[in-house]
């Protein structure tokens, strides 16, 4: 009884529980937190994915699908692989991190979003590269 009594008296000092969703604005995840896979784009709408498909092979659940094509690279003028759509099925993802571990160009990263629930299942299938985005210059496999 003494232990619980002590905690009862000290209860005003603060609870150990998180005041979610009141703290939604201030709650910040650690930078390594594995929320979802994102593909960062810079200000010129360019990403770093070369479409090498290593992540697709590394994924144990088939949650990454890359639809690619060959096209003329405007920087080098050579014909090379280009991604058309980087499809990411969040509903299949187990957050193992193997795709990000294996990515040679750091094109995909972990996002810190922790509110992944949606009302519609189709929203869980995402295309990570933005429309009309291009490969950043100087990225090689």
């Amino acid at each position: 009884m003494s232990v619980t009594g002590k905690y009862f008296l000290n209860s005003r000092k603060g609870a150990i529980t998180q005041q979610y969703p009141d703290n939604r604005d201030t709650l910040k995840m650690f930078e390594r937190f594995r929320g979802e896979v994102i593909m960062p784009h810079d200000e010129n709408n360019e990403h770093a994915c070369t479409g090498c498909q290593k992540c697709e092979i590394a994924c144990p659940n088939g949650s990454i699908e890359i639809i690619w094509d060959r096209g003329i690279d405007e920087y080098s003028g050579k014909k090379r692989k280009k991604i058309d759509k980087f499809v990411y099925h969040l509903s299949l993802c187990t957050m193992c991190g193997l795709c990000i571990d294996v990515c040679p160009t750091d094109a995909i990263k972990w996002g810190q979003n922790f509110e992944n629930s949606v009302y519609d299942r189709t929203k869980l299938t995402r295309v990570l590269n933005k429309p009309d985005s291009k490969l950043r210059a100087g990225i090689e496999d």
Binding site: M1, V3, T4, G5, Y7, F8, S11, A15, I16, T17, Q19
Partner: protein, 336 residues
Amino acid sequence: MPETAAQITEMIIIAIIYLGIFSVAGLFLVFMERRVAAWFQLRIGPNRVGYQGLLQTMADALKLVSKELTGTVKADKFLYNLAPYFVIISSLMALGLIPFSKSFQAFDINIGIFFLIAVSSIGVIGILLGGWASNNKYSLIGAMRSGVQTISYELSVGLSLLTMVLLTGSLQLSEMVEVQKHGWLILQGHIPAVIAFMVFMIAGTAETNRAPFDMVEAESELGAGFHTEYSGMKFAYFFLAEFINMFIIAAIATTVFFGAWLSPFGITESLPWLGIIWFLIKTFALVFLMMWFRWTFPRLRVDQLLTLEWKYLLPINLVNIVVMALIVWQKLTIQF
């Protein structure tokens, strides 16, 4: 207005007032339990509905009222529906006897304390009926445990109160309080009274089926015990009755041991209306003690429960009565 009509009107008004007290006290106790538990457990507890969450239980009650009443197909419908009313009516009847203050007591009969004990043990019939009629094995086990437990601990409750009756010489609650103007009974009766108080609190906790004696519900063993199959308002009746019973046990202890509405050393004797506040302060202190028990101790096993009663509490009680009788006989009581 003819006399009978006036009487009936009076009764109805009193009944409505008591129903009001009943529901407010019940809802507040549920809220208090949740907040106290949260503070013990380093949480915050309900704080959304109303100021500091005061209306939380009101919202829960509304939810329960609007819920669909479900039941098992093979349940004995008549008994199944009857059971919650037994539980709730018994605790409501007991509430009528509590002397909140000198003038605030619905009926002050000469066998007051005896009546209280008798009425509060009717509730177990409701629990037994509920467990039996739901046609569920878990409910049945819970109900049987409840029967065993309440019948056993009834003895200790009765005997520990009897010890105090030796001091007051009356079963009427108002007279019991009058005696305490010369010092609360727990002081008047010193050692045996303290023992009787401890026994009463243990047995009272057991009689209301609260942890550490919550064999009836025993969440980790029986799911929810006797009210597994109840839903909506019928479940709420059981739930409210449990909390009102806790309040009643604390109120009896206040009346018998701690001088009911009397202020300590008569400091506010000139202001009689303060009596109800003193009464509530004392009662809620005891309720808090029972909550403290609940959130600290592990649950007893069913055989240990009976061992505690029959092998320890009952002999202690019997010896205690003899000691108290000797003290009263030799006039060794402390009086101011």
